[in-house]
Amino acid sequence: MAFQEIELNMGPQHPSTHGVLRLKLTVDNEVVRAVEPVLGYLHRGMEKLWESLTYPQIVPLTDRLDYLAAVSNNLGYVLAVEKLMGLEVPKRARYIRVILAELQRLASHLAWVGFMANDIGAMTVLLYSFEDREDILDVFETYCGGRLTVHGIRIGGVPFDMDAGVAGMIRRVLDGLPKRIADIENLLDDNRIWLHRTRGVGVISAADAMDYGLTGPPLRATGVPWDIRKEIPYSSYEDFSFDVPVLAGGDVYDRYLVRMREMRQSAQIIRQALDGLPEGEFQAKVPRILKIPPGEVFHTIEAPKGELGFYVRSNGTDKPERVKMKSPSFINLQCLERMCKGNLFSDVVGILGSLDIVLGEIDK
């Protein structure tokens, strides 16, 4: 019997589509011929909804976009609004934002490495990385009460000052982190099965990656040193010295390595920010009813998943006329077919995992 091409539905209920994503796969035996992501299962109409909310009311809703990196979404939106207002944020607030955003990057990458390893069958990594992520969530909880949907950044600054208690907690997390990352690396880095499952799998060239608009760690794994924290610094990132890990392979393994190295850099940034935390206000003066004169602005930040942009247009009222979000997961998911074609069916989950997508951000 000749095995003809069959169409295989992966999701929306499937253990490893990272949410309610549906992939229409065309499989020839086990070789993938085509992948078509079908989106919209988690669509909540966010962007339209925001048009009926005031500027500050939108912030907590951005938590629900990339729910593994809530602070980064807050930061992206808030920075766009502040840019539109022309608001100068106190330096202390900017540093606290950096600390929170980098903690969030750590949490997001830790969750990612767990999910990704679990997809490839190494389930213990998931539990290890979630233990570390838990500590970071505890920091958020102590700081502002939220864990997953943090709402840790407000227009004009941050909701609370960074006191010694929270700072000490963060330092304790950072002290424990290198050993825990090393534990994960011991399990995976030189593991033959892991190497076989990741090396040379889901390769994308730098040129293709740029054409697709791939951003974040997947782009840096193709050899393009593009990190907005370095290129267009925001929120005082220019004050900190850190490296941007870049690798040239463009495969799943390099994406894994880039993220693992980024975690160490994030820890370094947080330490610098804690050490150099300037005195002063943590919140700028913002009118209670925030009306922004007509104008439009686009601002991007380097979120854990990639380049997160917010376009905000105001019309002089207290509500935005239009908010459009450029979500990194959505853009990165486009490359899936390019990466999967010709690979084996088993690799689709690994490649999908290596892109680090969150459906809350894709479907908005």
């Binding site: 499937h14 086990e30 069958g121 389930m123 213990t124």
Partner: protein, 344 residues
């Protein structure tokens, strides 16, 4: 018929048959519990510890739950084959236990109590053969479900099990060279007489047999047929309730079977360790059955340890491993052992 013959001719065989069903079941329960707890400890969790002592009754509770679940046969499935396949899978692994001795036969008065249900001079062959009948159950189940994930899972499974049976057979044969018998009790007795376990005489055979054994039971890192992240639950995706439990129990029973075989073929079955060391002679006073169980438990623990540590192989690597490495290695090993036996 006197009461005495009734006892020995009827009652004891019946008891043995009950035991041969209960023994794997109890082992499966312990194994499921052990797996959950050990994996939990590896991962820094506690695992189930509420039902019974340290959660020991958790598998029983789970089985009860599955027992009371609705029995679903998907509308598009072929009902006959669909229902047959869990039975086949279960029966094949239980049948194989009939030939597994639990220890040496001993005398009660003038009656010789054989600690196995069926005696056969080719027990090894029968155990290997019976355990692979389960493949039919898997392919029937995958095919009859009439759904894509089970079908792909079943195809993978069959290719995998059939491929890995070759090195298993080839390495088991090297043991037969030394024991000159396929009777499992005779194989153990041979190791006692030789004062060395075959695992130390034939390390390559043991390693190849063990790796293939893991692959044949579809366990991590070779658990592709039911690779959760890819194929949902593989060939038993469409099964629910007790039929699913049958597949689940059969898989664990199969693991117990493979571990028992490894212990019997390579690690002296119920023989105590260090028979040559005088100072450790007291080890021989521990009942052989306990040694046997302890050794089986060790290999079951290895299964769990591996699962807690390694990622999953990809299918092409899995097949490459067996056809390019394990089978040539097993053949080479076979030839060397045969030559060695012939020349010595």
């Amino acid at each position: 018929m006197t009461g005495r013959t009734l006892l020995f001719e009827l009652l004891i065989p019946v008891l043995k048959i009950v035991a041969v069903i209960l023994y794997p079941m109890v082992m499966v329960i312990i194994m499921i519990w052990m797996e959950r707890r050990v994996v939990a400890f590896i991962q820094g969790r506690l695992g189930p510890n509420r039902v019974g002592f340290q959660g020991l009754l958790q598998p029983v509770a789970d089985a009860m739950k599955l027992f009371f679940k609705e029995d679903i046969v998907p509308r598009q499935a072929d009902a006959f084959l669909f229902n047959l396949s869990p039975v086949l899978v279960m029966a094949s692994s239980l049948l194989a236990f009939c030939f597994l001795p639990l220890g040496e036969s001993f005398m009660i008065g003038s009656y010789t109590l054989d600690l196995r249900v069926a005696t056969s001079p080719v027990a090894l062959l029968l155990v290997l053969g019976l355990s692979s009948i389960g493949v039919f159950g898997i392919i029937f189940g995958g095919w009859a479900s009439n759904s894509k994930y089970p079908l792909m899972g079943a195809l993978r499974s069959v290719v995998q099990i059939l491929s890995y049976e070759i090195p298993i057979g080839l390495t088991a044969l090297t043991v037969v060279f030394f024991s000159r018998s396929m009777d499992l009790v005779a194989i153990v007795n041979n190791q006692r007489d030789a004062k060395v376990w075959f695992g130390f005489l034939l390390p390559v055979s043991f390693v190849v047999f063990w790796i293939s054994g893991i692959a044949e039971t579809n366990r991590a890192p070779f658990d592709l047929p039911e690779a959760e992240s890819e194929l949902v639950a593989g060939y038993h995706t469409e099964y629910s309730g007790m039929k699913f439990a049958f597949f689940y129990i059969a898989e664990y029973a199969h693991m117990v079977l493979v571990s028992s075989l490894v212990v019997i073929l390579f690690f002296g079955g119920w023989l105590p360790p260090f028979p040559n060391v005088k100072a450790l002679a007291f080890l021989g006073r521990v009942p052989g059955f306990l040694w046997y169980l302890a050794k089986i438990m060790f290999f079951l623990y290895l299964y769990i340890w591996i699962r807690g540590t390694l990622p999953r192989y990809r299918f092409d690597a899995l097949i490459r491993l067996v056809w390019k490495w394990l089978i040539p290695l097993a053949v080479l090993n076979f030839v060397i052992v045969a030559l060695g036996w012939y020349l010595l």
